[in-house]
Symmetry: C2
Subunit: 210 residues, 2 copies
């Protein structure tokens, strides 16, 4: 098998991009990066849409093998690709599905609330939000708290999110959870989450978010 | 290996529940069902939260094997479980990750827009929407159109969403796409999507949504 080369199309402020870099770091995989400013629309240019991702989003993992170049959007799918046949994906059928369960939960229940509030409050700025965004704040706040509560309840009786060891479920949920306070979600009410964050930060090969 | 018994906790109006029933039908797997009315809050009871899914959502796949009972929330994770070691999950490493890419796209870009507008317009009723929901209509409309455009562009040059054959990516995207008109998304501008819908409906074992 030829050696593959990986380039991550990313914005370093994005927790979704960090997931992939953390997966690569824990597995000792080398990643090149190409950086875009999402606030300046750099992922909505005709060139980006035509060549990298017609969905206009980062991260995208570019995979080169010999003459072949392929692009893989969606952070959790890119993590899956890099972690294939590694201990970060459990082998058991239920454990594997349960890991994916938390990765879908992350994209549906956690990211649109916990990450969006961080983006709005830290990067856009509360004073710059549209009226519509301001009106959505309470519902997103409540849904983000619900998501953190679900994680806390799970982690009260389990050391990791799925399968009894660190997996992609933990890697998917870690980035936006550990900076949830930047979106106004205090973590003092979540002691099990705080312990889990400490476990993540102690993993061999761990790298922090930029 | 002992035989597993499956019970799907569902609301028959939900496309997310239909995904799992369609997966089971295509694979010839028998599913019992237990039905809930999400509009009446039946998935938010203390009993449901304690025993079935503390996230208060359906679908949940209940898996019984001998004395052991396990619960698997998240529609796409349940599909993955049922389809493990079947042709609905491609074997190739890239194809598998690319299939998951579309399943994450479905939960992040497609479902919150295409499915939510269907829910609001068909089941809640436009006159019963809150002011906030009414104000979100244009943005959800635009994001739903974006998601359908991404699918259409892909399907112009590919018969299936990932891996060159029908996979869980198609099953995940089919339910809310084929009833998108109930959310006000006319499909006449999407001939490739319409062809793909026809292919899905022609699969051996196909069952329609209730």
């Amino acid at each position: 098998m030829m050696t593959e080369r990986y380039t991550l199309h990313e914005d370093p402020r994005s927790g979704n991009c960090y997931k992939i870099k953390l997966t690569a770091a824990l597995l000792g995989i080398r990643l090149e990066t190409r950086q875009y400013d999402i606030m300046a629309g750099e992922t909505r240019t005709p060139e980006f849409l035509a060549n990298v991702n017609r969905n206009g989003r980062i991260p995208v993992l570019q995979i080169e093998e010999g003459e072949q170049t392929r692009f893989l959007p969606e952070s959790n799918a890119a993590c899956w690709y890099l972690a294939s046949v590694s201990a970060l994906i459990p082998e058991g059928k239920f454990a594997q599905a349960d890991m994916l369960r938390w990765m879908f939960f992350e994209q549906y229940n956690h990211e649109p609330n916990v990450a969006t509030l961080r983006f709005w409050l830290r990067f856009v700025g509360e004073g710059n939000l549209s009226e519509q965004q301001k009106q959505m704040l309470p519902a997103k706040r409540a849904a983000g708290i619900d998501a953190l509560n679900v994680m806390e309840e799970h982690l009260k009786s389990a050391r990791w999110m799925a399968g009894g060891a660190v997996t992609l479920a933990d890697i998917a949920l870690f980035p936006y959870t550990h900076v949830a306070e930047e979106g106004g979600f205090g973590l003092d009410d979540y002691p099990a989450i705080k312990d889990w964050i400490g476990q993540m930060q102690s993993l061999p090969g761990f790298i922090p978010m930029d």
